[in-house]
Symmetry: D2
Subunit: 360 residues, 4 copies
């Protein structure tokens, strides 16, 4: 259970790291959208391993195939099935994983829950699972852009203690894609890359922060009281592997202020209702207010490190385990398209829900 | 839409601040649980206004009534309908609210979404809406305690810059309830209360942090990949009014560490699989690992302040608005039972989902 | 579980026969619909007991109250909570029911499922449970009529072997309401009434057929492959108490024909795509085709009869049970508003789902 | 929308007749079930075209592949993705279908709903869509048999006017599979086959009735008030292509009886609560009572006939259309495994729901 996301634009993902492939079924996509694999592949290329020296060197081309739901290059309104085959399945590197639980991975919890687990490559807990999300998110991004003019974007703003100040309203995709760490500030990006390289050399890993934004979202999206826009964004982000925290607008820092300081004054600017500050993060009472939506997600440092660590085996005997083979020091650059995808999935679902109830 | 929470223990809340009442329908409650109003009222009393000098002085007794779903003091397995009447409805204090949007409230966004809004008392955006959650949460807490030995608890750990160090494993309900701010450290609590009193005197307000914990949760609860336990907890917390951030385990601070530093080593301790640290926060890969679940939520400062603020009216003309009448300087003490309720709702739902799929 | 119906116009019903009342919460109602109790009461009056000599003499005024979701006579877009109090609760007539299972009722199955049951008045299995459906259905009917021009109607066409031929396209509400059995053919209605009176005199009961129709439904509503319009209509009708069968269009009789005979030829009639016959019943491939939707539901004879019948008690010892007290010989006239309500709920939900995905 | 079925054992189907394939994703399957393609293929072989002279001659091997959700021959508890490739895609026979709507097919309604349609082979409206249901149903059947001892079975009982009397409690799979029409009475089967051959020779087609049964279902499955077992069975059956009617137990015929005649007397038989008759069809008040569940479904005559019929083209101009190429005179034998699959899906979902709420 738990592999479906969304109400009206609804995705169901499937697949293990070393099984027959990874995929997603999308139900509820509006008909008559132009769609071919060429719309999806660029996002998958941003997500795939082996892009640069600071991410996992696993070799996967991650070529996506559309198996259903389109006809003559247009969506039919029927389920869209997308599949990516698994290619690089070297199981020899993983044999210890068959009998030992990796610390701060999900090995033990899957064992405790299901009684068995697909240990090669981490099975369902592999980051490969996000392929389906990113592919579906590419469709959602296209719909949001074409039908509502909404722009969804993300970037890396912090790696360990190295921070970049990024303005949610103005950074561009070109800036994000200008360096391998996907931080729009190229000077800070260089520092980040250096730190990641260093940690990789130490057989260690890093975590950091991804900033997600959505611009031009019309006022009115969000479904209180439970399906508030920020609640669904939070859930979406915290469903990504390795995430530990989510904040929107002023977030944790906002509690330092008093109410008087924190409130976003409202003013009519050229006939449009605007706020003079955006501590609300584009959402008030669970509903978008027309300002840029901006939020930050903490990704913990990658759990696989090239050092001996204390753990237990499947018979619960104490032992140790050391990461071997491919080393992925930093998930952040590849997390950027994942964050964008989940953002787009949440927003499109809310756009359709709003259209269902409130279209006149 | 969006007023139902949960899959198997499923609540639907209803009600506006000044309408016929506030309530909740619970579907999926297991049968044969002993249940009367006496099980619910104490939690509602912790939530209700007018408890102390640092929260809103609105006068409500918030007496709950069970209208269905029980027979001779036991749950039937049928829907449980709970209702609380609205009493203190002084509409005169609110007349300006009819025509002006309060800054950093949901007035404008409800207007934009629905085209009309119940302005007295904030309508559905009032904190009264959480009555249904707290009442349903009381049932969930009871079930978790009686059937699985799970303990759910929350407390205030920060008000503006004043912080208390609180150990998620050991603080007690008695400590939490020993002072009006619901911080288990009484020395820090006194400082917090003083600060809140000061802000109230200034016609201003504060925000802060609530810590939520769940102890004795068995390993195995959580439904990856989307309905991870932390994702559902995050959504639950971010669906509470005034929340801006959620973090579990090491949260945002965890990104300062390397993977080697951050990982929770695993060891067999007296026949049980334990982690030596708990940076994971009791959840790994979306599934509980048997350690204490602990997380923190940021509540922004209360938006209503007794000062003139810039805004627009319903015809989008620029104007100002000043809070009048009852002043609520701090939502934190009343947020504690809300956090506990939402935690219990998430955990019980996952307990039942786990039982459905994995019971042998 | 199982007390919520619909996806976008979503109702959750609650209540037992002899508890604190019966009600429903509606989530997803579009905002800005004029709505007061006066819109709902007439449908509840058609459903309530004691209307005539051929239905149950239980005395209930069934006055509905709107507790939330409206403001100044208009819907807010927030949940609408509707409540009807229980009045006539004579428990003395029911004491044997506490310890014996009534044949062809749900007493034994509720006992088997939940381990306990609210025996007074049948608890949740009482026909009173349908109050919430009828009240919510009144709102759905109003929306369908005002926003899409759709007319929903039902009538009785058969009581035991007495049949009326009724044209789905032309019978009127006035005809239906012109007699107490709600059969639009008044001559046949008189025969039906006579038969029901006779059965009542014998301490026995009857079943029969209700015809449901929806006129002016636009082509395009329905969500294949599982949520076909006829599948959702079928489920809706079979969720009503005492139903045993559902057929749409040509139904069971259609199998006597060959494909060539059965097919509905298509022709452009005054610029509109029409079928020359309507054996499809207004639905093809799960989607409305613009023709009148028509279907029939079998209601079994009422299970409570004034005769000794073989059964077992709660300790599974063999015994007998005889119906006493109020005798309801025929549920059909009261089933008519129930069928209309469920039809309207299905159609409105599909209207909103269609609007969500296919509005351009 | 509408391509997901079930709550806890939840299937999502995808695929068009002539696209990249047909498939299903199953979420919620319990872990540790032995499962390979060999468990699924026999059911798909019963469903596939070209089995005999009385069904469609389309050539498809329908080889199923498990792409995810198993490891070393056991289910993981993660989503199971099943795919069957499309092979026989002769588009030349279908060219007229591109521009004309086939009478009593879904061509016009898909056009009206989505604005475009995948006309080759009927796209999503092809009976190939049921492959995913049958494959998923095979897993559900296996689980029901192994964990609860439940047996699910179906057979053909009527073709046009030719009827077989079949006892729901005793007919066997071997009897069903002993002839190509899948009627357990071989004498009547021979008549049916003769009639179908005759209709095929006439370029015409037939419809008929399929009987579905489930034996050894424990008392207690079903979720009133909306998700009654018969309501979910009815929806499941009416979601199959070409179905027009569903009845359970006494069905439409039951209305001829009075309540006294119709009621199922209850008696303790060897310590078990039994009913002496089974007019209820194994379900009372929406919950199984431990008796055999039995129901009947009407399948209309196949709509494609080899005769000129009146219709309109995509510009709504009047025209005619004659079926060409492969002729399928009778869907009934292939509907038998479809009915079994949907029955198993409903029952397993309810088994898990019951386990979630009522397991102690």
């Amino acid at each position: 259970m738990g592999n479906t996301f969304g109400h009206l634009f609804r995705i169901t993902t499937w697949g293990e790291s070393h099984g027959g492939g990874i995929g997603v079924v999308i139900d509820g996509c509006p008909p008559n959208l132009e769609l071919t694999e060429a719309d999806l592949q660029p996002e998958l290329d941003r997500r795939r391993p082996g892009q640069s020296s600071i991410v996992t060197p696993r070799k996967e081309s991650d070529q996506v195939q559309i198996l259903s739901g389109t006809f003559e290059g247009r969506t039919l309104g029927t389920p869209i099935s997308l599949v990516v085959k698994n290619e690089d399945q070297r199981s020899e590197a993983y044999t210890e994983m068959a009998t030992k639980f990796r610390p701060s991975h999900a090995d033990y919890t899957y064992h405790a829950k299901y009684g068995l687990r697909a240990w090669p490559g981490g099975g369902r807990t592999s980051a490969r699972e996000t392929i389906g999300r990113v592919a579906a998110g590419a469709i959602a991004k296209k719909l949001l852009r074409e039908r509502w003019g909404v722009e969804v974007l993300a970037c890396v703003t912090q790696v360990q203690a190295i921070k970049a100040e990024v303005d949610p309203d103005t950074f561009t995709l070109a800036q994000v894609e200008s360096n391998i760490v996907r931080c729009p500030n190229s000077a800070v990006a260089a520092e980040m890359i250096q730190l990641i390289e260093q940690r990789r050399g130490e057989g260690d890993s890093v975590g950091g922060i991804v900033l997600g934004v959505a611009r031009n979202v019309p006022a009115g999206w969000g479904e209180p009281v439970f399906d508030r826009l920020e609640a669904d964004l939070g859930k979406a982000m915290l469903s990504l592997p390795a995430t530990k925290a989510f904040e929107i607008g002023s977030g944790f820092a906002g509690i330092q202020l008093t109410g008087r300081q924190h409130n976003d004054a409202i003013r009519n600017v050229d006939g449009k209702v605007r706020t003079l500050t955006n501590r609300s993060g584009g959402v008030q009472g669970g509903i978008s207010n027309g300002e840029t939506i901006h939020f930050r997600i903490a990704f913990k440092p990658v759990a696989t490190v090239m050092h001996e660590q204390e753990t237990v085996d499947v018979s619960f005997a104490n032992t140790t385990l050391k990461g071997r083979g491919r080393h992925d020091p930093c998930v952040l650059p590849r997390a950027v398209p994942m964050v964008e995808a989940m953002t787009a999935l949440v927003l499109l679902d809310h756009a359709l829900r709003h259209q269902a109830q409130c279209a006149h």
